[in-house]
Symmetry: C2
Subunit: 213 residues, 2 copies
DNA sequence: AATAATTAATCAATCGATTAATTATTTTTG
DNA sequence: CAAAAATAATTAATCGATTGATTAATTATT
């Protein structure tokens, strides 16, 4: 059945995503992936055409999902700070509930190998980043944000802070004193704390009229 | 001669560091590294005992350098905000002038493979992170910083922002409109802009008494 | 009966590492 | 100081292991 086949493909994608995140692209062998997914190694080639095809399929799955969310936010008519805070919440939710994929993304971005693949990934992430920049720039332009704020750097701070918590999870755990890799800890402790921090910091920097040097 | 030998070893380490950063640990083969360094493949094993030994040597080189800097900052007696800003500058200088190593570090931190190696790396980075946290916590304690500031998250924002600029260089370039991988651009544009941004943002969040919800 | 799905076995290529042989450099010795 | 002995450095060739991929045969489904 087509339905069963799709379920099996999704299952493989799920397992593969986890293994790629934990072991890296080269580190996760097709033998390991197929074994973990409980399928024959040849099925990976049968379904996805090969290891690269499997890897790409993982990205394509997420690209489709993310595109919809972006378009929704684009069309809302709310204040700049509300938009930005909505953005902060959205990305925190998305990134925190999908740590494995985030790890893959940022690791892939830091390589210069597999350039065709890289370009696809970067064009995806750049959609997100440029959208956030647009919101901030708009806020600066319409006077609701500090005039000499650096939109590019703020984008870096937003995504950088979140990816640091996720990618350097073992570091973060050591820093905070609890297990940042534990999903329930992430949901109940890390995520709200992260959201609160970024919102407060961005608000202090962007809105309150203070004289920094 | 011992001196010549050390020079050759350093040369190999330099080349290997670049290749590991560009291609990843698995992606950079010993054949590739030895060829790029202009030495026979067997020399890597002769000098470093193998690929892992070579990889470790790169870290040990940097560990030694960083330890000294950390101890110096520890012993200075200046205000909390001065210490923090000095920290921001120091890490910006270090990370920006050594992008290759930073890429390796953060990629390694996001893996769960090679655990003995990972622990060494994490313990090194945690030294830096905990030092920054200590400075911020001290500032909160002695009343110079905002009382409800989140020290852990600030550390994540500091290192996260910087590593985002470096690791997601292609993204940053697309965002900012100039080549973030170009050393002279980094030195004259990116580095000062990054320093300024973090200092201003941290100052707004930590010092100016504002009422964020 | 025909097509799709699945398996086990095998392919060539590449990996890191090692070997044995050769060359270069010290060190010892006369 | 030079010849010889000893050690260090370097090379080319090869090792077994693992990689992703493919094949041909088998089983399941339509």
């Amino acid at each position: 059945m087509t339905e069963e086949r799709q379920d099996k493909k999704d299952h493989i994608l799920e397992i593969a995503e986890k293994l790629f995140a934990d072991l890296g692209y080269d580190g996760a062998s097709t033998r390991h992936i197929s074994q973990a997914a409980g399928v024959n190694m040849a099925m990976l080639n049968y379904y996805f055409g090969g290891k690269e095809g499997l890897y790409l399929s993982i990205f394509q799955k997420h690209v489709t999902q993310q595109k919809i969310k972006l378009e929704n936010l684009n069309n809302e008519e709310i204040s700049s700070i509300e938009k930005l805070e909505k953005c902060i919440d959205d990305y925190a939710d998305k990134m925190m509930s999908n740590c494995a994929f985030q790890k893959i993304i940022y690791r892939e971005m830091s390589l210069s190998q597999r350039s065709e693949l890289n370009k696809k990934i970067i064009s995806l992430i750049s959609l997100n980043a440029l959208e956030v920049k647009r919101i901030i720039s708009e806020g600066i332009k319409n006077g609701s944000f500090n005039q000499d704020a650096d939109a590019d750097m703020l984008v870096a701070s937003l995504f950088g802070t979140k990816s640091y918590i996720i990618n350097a999870a073992e570091m973060s755990s050591l820093l905070m004193g609890y297990d940042v890799t534990n999903p329930s800890v992430i949901e109940t402790v890390v995520k709200p704390r992260l959201k609160n921090h970024i919102k407060k910091m961005f608000r202090a920097y962007l809105i309150n009229n203070n004289e920094n040097n």
